[in-house]
Each structure stands twice: as C-alpha cells, then as structure tokens.
C-alpha cells in the first residue's frame, strides 16, 4: 500500500480512481479466469461422471439382449426314458437335433464344433419342459434355446470375422453354420430374461443376478432391522436425554470416528468376532447384514441427530410447558417431526450398504453360489460381490455381464437416492 501511495503522491495528476481504472481490466480478467476455473472444475467432474457412465453403459447395454437359436426338437422317446425323466440324456437330445439340422456334418471334431453353437443351458431348458409336461414326448416342437456365449459375442459384433481362423473363438465352419441359420431366420436376439431371473453360472449366457439380488435383499433387511431402530434410539438418547458428561462425550467421539473408519476394518471385525468367536456360518447374508449394520449405524445416528437438532426448541418448550414429561415430549412431538430426516439418512445409509464390497470379502461371500438363497443363513453373495466375481471370470462375455450388473446396481442406488431426495423435498420444513 505504501508503495502505491508514494506513487500516487509523485504524480499528482493521477488520482486514485485512475489507478483503480488502470488495474481494472486486469482485475476483471483475473475475475473471469477464476470463474472459469470454477466452472471448468465442475465440468471436469461431470465429465468424469459421464465417461464412467458411458463406458459402463457402452460395455454393458448389449448384455440385456441375448442371442437365441431356434431348434426343431423331436422329443425322442428312445432317448427320454419315462421311468427316469429327470436324469435322461437331454444334451444327447440337443445334439441329435443339431445333427438333424446339419446332416452334412460328419466326423467327431466337426460334430463337436457344431454342438458348441448352442449353450449347455439348452439341455436344462429341455429337461424343464419335459418335466413340466411329459406329454410332449414323441412330438416335435420348435424351441428357442440360448446360443453359446461365443456365438452371442459374434452376433453382437464383438469379433471381427476377418481375423485368422486360429485367432478367433469360432472356426470358419461354425461361422458358415451360423450364417446358414441366420438366413433361415433361426437366430434371433431377444430380451435376456435369464439375466434377471437366474443365479450365478459358469456359462455367461445362463448367468443372472437374481441370486445376488436376493442375497443383497436379505443382507440389507438384516441391516435395516438392526441399524434403523438402534440408530434412531441412540440418536434420541444422545440428543434429548444424555447428560453432558465424559461418558456421553466419549460416545459422541466414538460415533464420529466410526463413521470414518475404513469399511474393510469392519470386515476384520466381522471375521474375528462373528465368524471366529461366535462361529456364525461363512457366506451367510445374516453375518453380512450384521457387519453392514455396524457400518451404517454411525451414518444413521449422525443423520438422525441432525434431524433432531433441526426441530426448533420452541416445540420442546411448548410440550414441556403444557405438562408433558420429557419422554412424552420426545415421542409425541419431536420424533414425528424429525422422522422424515431420519428416514432420509437411513435410506442413504442403506444405499451405501448396498454398494459395499470390501467388508464382505472378509467373511466368505466371495464364492460360486448358483442356488437362489432362501434364508438368512443360506450361502449367498451380494450384487457388488457378484460384480467383483464376474470381473474375474475368464469368459469374455462376462465383461458385458459385469457392466450390465453394474447398471442394475446403479439403478437401484439411484432409485434409493431419488427416494431420499423426494422425501427430503416433501417433508423439508423451514422453522
């Protein structure tokens, strides 16, 4: 400042306003730059978001459609023994059908290549049909069966057919057969219902997320049942009843810290306490839910306390003034007003629990589980763990399935968050 002053004194004809004007353009430029940086930062982070979504969707949208092949299956009574229908040779049935469709195929290796066109799931599908209605034996029915994952990949355009034969997953003959089927209109892409109704599978075309979704549901149910009541109760105590002393201070510090403890540490806790000390079963949604509820508890407590704090003291004083006891004041007046905020916090906590993977890795939820879990102690996996597992699988078709599973998971999360936002908007009150 002194320097500026002395300058101004020397050149008397230059007034302060002139100096200000002189620097003004520069200052405005700096202003513009600064504003631009801010905007650029936001654009940049939104760009990251966009790239993330585009790469996931781009990788995964094709997984919602699956290639099917139409087979004219003759349910041969010679193959299907009435006595033992459930253990009959259904893959033999599929094979004989394929041989009939391509009578020119001779030789073992050629036949094997032919059989590879359709998924092993075709046999399961025929088995199901026969078991459901044994009457169809002896008749010819046209059935759409899932194509093998390699065929699926080809139809979806992941392979270029120009590559040398040994560099592709499909041989020239197989390509010719597929072309032939295509011309006959016997190859079709249909909505992939299997993906939404099946459990895990080693065949990408048979793999689905339903098992993991049910596992997630059980785990989250446990989490919700444990963490919501306990979280709300703890928040009410700390906010409304707790005397200010060292003990409550300790609890408070504890909760704030737990909220920021890395999730994997909760996994260690689950492993050491629930599995090794109490001997709970591995891979069970019950244990997963308990670990997750310990993790979400601080989030819910903090959100609930904020909701309680936002209820103005006048309400409390009013209630106390007309003779309510403290408990009556809380239960009758404060809680109902704070409940929307608490629910919002709970939903956000649940959303986080739904997406959590790391602690579940520690308690054996990384496993190949095909059957849909039917209870809290059945072995199960959850959606994010399923994503992690599929990201590991050697079959190429799992890459798109992984992305598709991510899309489903994200859809759930957005739904939950949207619910939280709507709830907040609807019940938000300014006092």
């Amino acid at each position: 400042m002194n320097k500026d002053d002395s300058k101004a004194n020397k050149k008397v004809e230059k007034r302060t306003i002139d100096i200000v004007h002189q620097g003004l353009a520069k200052r405005y430029r700096a202003e513009g730059r600064f504003k631009f940086y801010g905007l650029a930062a936001i654009v940049m982070s939104l760009l990251c978001l966009a790239i993330l979504f585009i790469s996931i969707v781009g990788n995964g949208y094709k997984a919602f459609r699956q290639t099917y092949v139409e087979l004219e299956v003759f349910f041969d009574p010679a193959i299907l023994d009435h006595e033992n229908l459930s253990a009959a040779n259904y893959s033999g049935l599929v094979k004989s059908t394929l041989r009939k469709m391509f009578p020119e195929v001779k030789g073992r290796s050629e036949k094997r290549e032919l059989y590879k066109l359709v998924s092993p799931g075709a046999a399961f599908q025929l088995r199901k049909m026969v078991l459901k209605d044994p009457e169809i034996i002896g008749r010819s029915i046209s059935v759409w069966v899932p194509a093998d994952d390699d065929v699926d990949m080809l139809i979806k355009g992941y392979f270029s057919t120009d590559a040398a034969e040994n560099a592709r997953r499909l041989s020239d003959k197989q390509l010719a057969w597929i072309e032939q089927l295509r011309e006959q209109g016997k190859v079709k892409k249909k909505f992939n219902t299997t993906f939404f109704t099946a459990g895990d599978s080693r065949e990408p075309e048979l793999a689905g997320i339903w098992g993991a979704a049910v596992g997630s549901f059980f785990a989250l149910l446990v989490t919700l049942l444990l963490s919501f009541p306990i979280g709300v109760a703890a928040a009410v105590y700390l906010e409304e009843f707790a005397p200010k002393n060292r003990w409550t201070d300790l609890i408070e510090v504890n909760i704030n810290n737990l909220a920021a403890v890395p999730s994997i540490v909760f996994g260690l806790l689950g492993l050491a306490v629930f599995l090794n000390f109490f001997g709970f079963p591995r891979s069970a949604p019950l244990v997963g839910g308990m670990v997750l509820s310990l993790m979400t508890l601080p989030i819910i407590i903090i959100a609930s306390r904020a909701a309680l704090q936002s209820v103005p003291p006048s309400i409390r004083e009013g209630a106390l003034g007309v003779g309510a006891s403290k408990m009556q004041m809380v239960v009758h007046h404060v809680l109902p007003l704070a409940l929307p905020g608490m629910l919002t916090g709970t939903i956000i906590g649940m959303a986080r629990a739904l997406g959590e993977t790391a602690p579940l890795l520690m308690i054996g939820m990384v496993a190949f589980i095909v059957d849909i879990p039917r209870g809290f102690t059945d072995p199960a996996t959850v959606l994010p763990v399923q994503i992690y597992l599929w990201a590991d699988s050697p079959e190429r078709a799992f890459v798109e399935r992984t992305s598709a599973a991510i899309m489903v998971l994200l859809a759930f999360l957005m739904l939950m968050n949207a619910a939280a936002i709507v709830l907040r908007k609807k019940f938000e009150k300014r006092w």
């Binding site: 801010g38 982070s45 990251c48 105590y237 403890v261 994997i264 909760f266 403290k326 986080r352």
Partner: protein, 462 residues
Amino acid sequence: MSPATILTVLLIFSSVAYYLGRKRAFAVAGKAGGIRYLHSRPTYYGALTALWCGIPALLLFGLWLALEDKIITNLVVSGLPEAIRTLPENRLNLVVNDIKNLVNGNVVAGAVTATIQEAAVHYRNLKATSNAALAVGVFSLGIVATAVIRSKISSTLRARNLVEQLIEYFLIACSCLAILTTIGIILSVLFEAIRFFKAVPLTDFLFGLEWSPQMAIRADQVGSSGAFGAIPVLSGTLMISAIAMLVAVPIGLMSAIYLAEYANRRFRDIAKPLLEILAGIPTVVYGFFAAITVAPFVRRLGFTLGLDVSSESALAAGLVMGIMIIPFVSSLSDDVINAVPQALRDGAYSLGATRSETIKQVVLPAALPGIVGSILLAVSRAIGETMIVVMAAGLAANLTLNPFKTVTTVTVQIVTLLIGDQEFDSPKTLAAFALGLLLFVVTLLLNVIALHVVRRYREQYE
C-alpha cells in the same frame, strides 16, 4: 407350535395385556373418583402391563432357543447305538447333521438307515415336546406376570415413570453399541496384532523397508523371504492417496467455490446432486472402471509420451480414487464456505474488491480451517479405500516415488492376505490384522484431528 407362532401369540397376549391393564386402570380410577386421580394416564398402565407380559416371556423364549438345540442333540446322541455314540466328536457331528437334514426335510446324503430314521423320529419328538413346553412356559409366564402387575395397579402406581425408565434404559443400551463396536474393532484387531508382533518385532514392522509377506506356507516350500516392513506398503498407500488428493482437492475446492459463490440457483440445483452421484457410486464399480478403462488409457498415454508405465500403475488407481473423492471435498468445503457470514463478503465488496478477490482474500482464509478439516477427512477416506486398489493397483511392494510404477496399499495387502487363508496362527494372516490396526490408528488420528479442526473453527463467526 413353531417358535414363530409362539412369538406371534405372545405379541397378541401382550396387546391383550395392554387392554387389561388399561381397563384395570379405568376401574381403579372409577373407584378413586375419576381418571384425574390416577398417577398416570391409563394408557401407561396398559403399556406397563404389556411390557411385563412380554419382556420376561421373551427372555425365556430367547434363552430356551439358545439352549434347546444343544440339549436335544445331546439327548438324541445318547439314544444312538453304542457304535455311533462312541465316534469321535467331529464324526458324530456329521451324523447329527445327517439326522437334522432328515428332520428338516432336506435331501439326505445316502440311504437312510433304521438307526438314523429312528434318531430322526426321536429328534422330531423331542423337538415337538420342547416346543410344546416352550409354548406353555412362555404363555404361563406372560399370564402370571400380567396377573401380578394387574393386581398391583392402583391409583398411586407410577406407571408412566416405570415405562419411561424402561424405554430410557433401552435408549442408553442402543447408544452404547457404538462404544461396543469400537471396542470390538480394537480388540479383534489388537489381539491378533499382538500375536503378530510376538513373531515379528514391532520395530521391524514399523520401520522395515521391505514387504514381502508371501512367505512359505508349508515347511517344505521356499517362498519369498517373508519380510514384514510396513514402510513400502505405507508409502504406496500415501502415494496413491496423494495422487487422489491432487485430483480431488483442486477440482473439489474450485467446484465448491463456484457452486457457493457464482452459480445461480438453478445451476446449483442441478450440478450439486450430479456431483453427489459420484460419491454414491459403489467402489467396486470404480475398481472395474479403473481396471478396464483408465489403466489401459494411462498406459497408452504414457507409451505415446515415451514413458514406461506399468499396467498396474499407481497413477490409474490414484486418478480414479481422486474422482471418487471429489464430492467429499466439494460438499464439505461447500458447507464451510457457506458458513462464512455474508457480512465479511459485503465488507470486501464495499471496499471495491471483485468477487474473486473477495473469495481469495476474505472467504477462503476465513474458511481455511474447515477446508483443511474436510481435506483431512478425504485423505482418511482415500487411505481406507479398498476395492479400487484391489482391482486396479498391484501387489508388489515397491518403495518408489514414480507414479507410473506398481505400488501396493495397506488395504490391498489385508485383502490378499485374508481371502481364502483362514488359518489364524501364521504370521502371514496375522500381518493382515497388524495392518488393520495400523490403518485403524492412522485413520483415527486423521479423523480426530480433522473433526477437532472443523469443530474448533466452525463457530468462530456465529
């Protein structure tokens, strides 16, 4: 009667008890000369009766279920023929498993022998008896308790206080769970860590420069040397976190400033939730994104620049982690910046400062402690992040400052050391707990400091 039905019936009993208690209260009040002569409102007498009916019965129920299985199993086992009964314990539990499968109607392992069938019938009978006894016990306890408390109801019984006391105990118990969790974490990590430090001295762990925990898992195997020096692991963690912060802090902070100071309401309403989506995306998704999209991109980029980039470079993991952390920094800083009173800004404007000058010279200095706190919280989040690094960073513990090389982090090591390997006494598994302890302590310190800083300076202007 199955346990579920017993519980339902008990719930019905409880509600009946509620009405009985209330009715009794009205009756007592009528004698005393009107409701206003009661100590509490009649509903409280009802509630008290209901609680008396329910809680002891529930306790009995829980205790019974906890012990039932063991007792029945013992009884069934003692009824088995000598040859099976004298099997070693572990074989015996397999037989019992088979019996239970039969009882539950699950598919059983093999042909059902007469003995097993008999045992299953025995088991089922005992179970039925036990359930019946449980039902009788629970209901009679409920009824007796209800009768006792009902007879005690008088106009001077302080029902409301009793009920409220009970509820308050429950609230206290819930709030103490947080402490229990912390104690649980500390104990579970500490015990194993102490066992680890018996095998590997603490100083070696804290100051060792080499980390290669892939020691031999069998006597006749030569693994790596089995060095447990945490420094390379820590340095890797810090490097990835640092890269993440280099991405997240400028972007997050500038976004927060723009949103708080420049953006109009509409822009803010759209941009803020969008930014927060970034925080809501599960980390496994970021991990997949890092491994499939970002890491190859970083590699190609490095390649065109003539750099030697490892395919599991710290850079890729750090960048993606940075993206994940942006919203943490931005939303926390946003709050802090908004908390700076408008009067300070108005003062600066009135002196002729431009907006950016006001922000740089007035708002930011005022908000600085809060911003630092939020950055510290973000750092602790970055250090504890697991899935991104598990999927995108490597396992090689290099002590390096080159972001293009592979490094490893504390969380990656915990996961790789523990997945699959459940033996609890090799230093290798225990090392995971030592690392867990380290992680817990480091993040704890960061959190405590951050929370302290935030709280200390938050109310400065209010």
